[in-house]
């Protein structure tokens, strides 16, 4: 509470100043924080609390055509969530996607970042921009574009005549490809920026000991940029669990993507029924799962990385 007054403000008698104004620059702090905090409260905190509140209610009708009334339902919506096979199938689907796609994407991102940070390649700036460029393409647009590339009528790739990229067997991996295409460069850039911040002198000793680029990358660079890699993993956990745009676009061009393909699509399709109470319960469970998974991942990796 009084830590603020330890700043070397000058000769003003401390005790007096402390009594009058326990926090230094109170007006400035409020002025700087207020706009963001007000907006955050209105458009983040209150909606989350409102969804939580709603998830404990249910709609009842007197008879089939009676007026609907909303009554307290306790954990009834949550019971439905936990017994909904559609929801858990969709969770399983995005987890499968996560296990396969994220290591591939981040592995490639790390490889590209290391190559662009090494002294081996020429034209680094060009490659860096090219790999990053797809990030400028919105997910919806990327899915529309790849949608054309996957079907034989417009695709320049003749393989589409024999392989059904939008069939139920492959469509998940076709979606994975779109995500990788869009986000690989973004993750590459986060790791690359961390690599660039390493002072060059660190490599000197290793070089004089005769270590090659691969050895330097493995033993020095990767351990140092591990926090950045962990950051990209956490972003990917969040992004994959919340997957919506790409499958929603594919849904309009193929029947192998159902209206409950991903957890967020379950939330959305429940809300347009409309059953806001159940859909609120779905989003609460989804938000908590995201939070718990990210948290566990951070804890586990921090132990590994810093112990």
């Amino acid at each position: 509470m009084t830590t603020a007054t330890t700043a070397p403000a000058g000769e003003v008698p401390r005790v007096v100043a402390r009594k009058r104004d326990p926090i230094k620059h109170k007006g400035a702090i409020i002025g700087f924080l207020a706009p963001f905090v007000v907006l955050f409260t209105l458009f983040y905190a209150i909606p989350v609390l409102y969804a939580l509140y709603q998830s404990f209610f249910k709609t009842e009708r007197k008879g089939t055509f009676g007026a609907a009334t909303t009554v307290f339902g306790g954990f009834e919506q949550y019971q439905r969530v936990f017994s909904s096979s559609e929801f858990w199938t969709s969770i399983g689907r995005v987890l499968l996607l996560f296990i396969v796609q994220v290591p591939i994407m981040l592995g490639l991102a790390l490889l590209f970042a290391l190559l662009l940070d090494s002294t081996v390649v020429r034209g680094k700036k060009f490659f860096r921009l090219v790999i990053f460029a797809p990030y400028a393409v919105p997910g919806v647009i990327a899915a529309i574009m790849w949608g054309f590339l996957y079907v034989p009528s417009l695709s320049p790739f003749s393989i589409t005549e024999n392989v059904d990229f939008l069939g139920s067997g492959l469509v998940l991996w076709s979606i994975a490809n779109v995500i990788t295409w869009v986000f690989c460069g973004y993750n590459m850039l986060i790791i690359f920026s961390a690599l660039q911040a390493i002072p060059q002198e660190i490599y000197e000793a290793a070089r004089t000991d005769g270590a090659g680029q691969v050895r330097i990358a493995w033993s020095i660079k990767i351990p140092i940029v591990l926090p950045a890699i962990i950051l990209t993993f956490v972003f990917s956990i969040i992004g994959t669990l919340q997957l919506f745009n790409e499958p929603q676009v594919f849904r309009t061009i193929t029947s192998s993507v159902s209206s409950t393909y991903t957890p967020n699509m379950v939330v959305y399709s429940t809300s347009i029924v409309p059953n806001y109470n159940l859909s609120a319960a779905y989003s609460v469970v989804l938000a908590l799962s995201t939070f718990v998974l990210s948290f566990i991942f951070l804890k586990v990796t921090q132990k590994r990385a810093f112990a």
């Binding site: 700087f32 081996v120 390649v121 680094k124 070089r207 939330v267």
Partner: protein
């Protein structure tokens, strides 16, 4: 971490002019070949879809289907296609483009200002509850878009904001990640003695922030602006939930609705293709034009 404190030019940032690997061990030709080959394959993978989009946008309805997708066909009608797209249905596409630009420029502009102010306050002032506020804001990063959009829809419908510009604009002003980045950057790049000096000269806290701190935090400002711009530009779920009047749509939602009705109206296909190409240009230009700012800003966030 980076920014003004970086004194050693790493040299790897200058394209073809690389560090002289004089003392390095013999990097044999094979590894150079492998590395370059790998990057060339990657470049092809990342560029071919965009190349296809450019080529397809230059074709007619007929040549789109009848000619190979990776090279141009005559007639080359990219510009007349774009003109047709802009004129189609009372310039609906241009309306979407203007909407997206409006949502993104204003949302990212004000959103960045608010995020930087908050991040600066959290970095530079000590007060009770500081970490609680910061952790609550960080928790906001984890909240799924759907968890926000649906309750917001219900709240906005009670105050009559559903199906208005405000419904999409107001929520996009909040960037929790921006606050995180701004706090880290402010702590690293705005020296305390400089602020003290400004105070001794009689500058108010606000003046010290707007005149001194904002200038030092320029890379962070650009980074937060660009990434919030991307988030809003890519926004799809919120407008999908909030808007039914197609004249308020952003470009993502607009092209999605056209793409969904290609089966009923095949002539829309070319418009979707040309429209996709036009829609990615503003971001590509912004990223290329501002890269020297956001790259140094990004490293501050990536290191921590």
């Amino acid at each position: 971490m980076s920014g003004p404190t970086t004194t050693v030019p790493t040299g790897t940032d200058t394209g073809g002019v690389d560090l002289p690997p004089s003392q390095g061990p013999r990097e044999n030709r094979l590894s150079v070949l492998l590395a370059t080959g790998g990057l060339v394959v990657a470049a092809v993978y990342f560029l071919v879809p965009i190349w296809w989009l450019v080529v397809a946008s230059s074709k007619s309805q007929a040549t789109l289907v009848s000619t190979g997708g990776l090279w141009f066909a005559s007639p080359f009608q990219l510009f007349s296609n774009v003109a047709d797209l802009f004129a189609f249905r009372d310039s609906l596409y241009l309306r979407w483009l203007a909407n997206s630009i409006g949502y993104a420029v204003l949302g990212a502009g004000f959103g960045t200002l608010f995020a930087v102010m908050a991040g600066y306050a959290l970095a530079k002032y000590v007060f009770r509850g500081r970490e609680v506020v910061f952790n609550l804001i960080l928790g906001g990063v984890l909240v799924p878009a759907t968890a926000l959009a649906l309750p917001l829809f219900l709240m906005f419908s009670q105050v009559g904001l559903v199906d208005t510009y405000w419904a999409v604009f107001l929520p996009s002003l909040v960037s929790p990640f921006g606050v995180y980045l701004a706090r880290i950057y402010a702590a690293a790049s705005v020296p305390e003695p400089l602020l003290e000096a400004a105070r001794l000269d009689g500058a108010s806290e606000f003046r010290a922030f707007f005149v001194i701190a904002m200038r030092l935090m320029k890379p962070a400002l650009v980074t937060i602006f660009l990434f919030q711009f991307v988030v809003i530009w890519n926004n799809f779920f919120l407008p999908l939930v909030m808007l039914s009047n197609e004249r308020l749509f952003p470009i993502t939602l607009g092209l999605y609705t056209w793409n969904s009705s290609i089966n009923q109206a095949p002539e829309l296909r070319l418009f979707v293709i040309v429209g996709s190409l036009v829609s990615i240009l503003p971001l590509l230009i912004a990223f290329l034009g501002l890269q020297r700012f956001w790259q140094s800003g990004l490293s501050a966030g990536g290191v921590k």
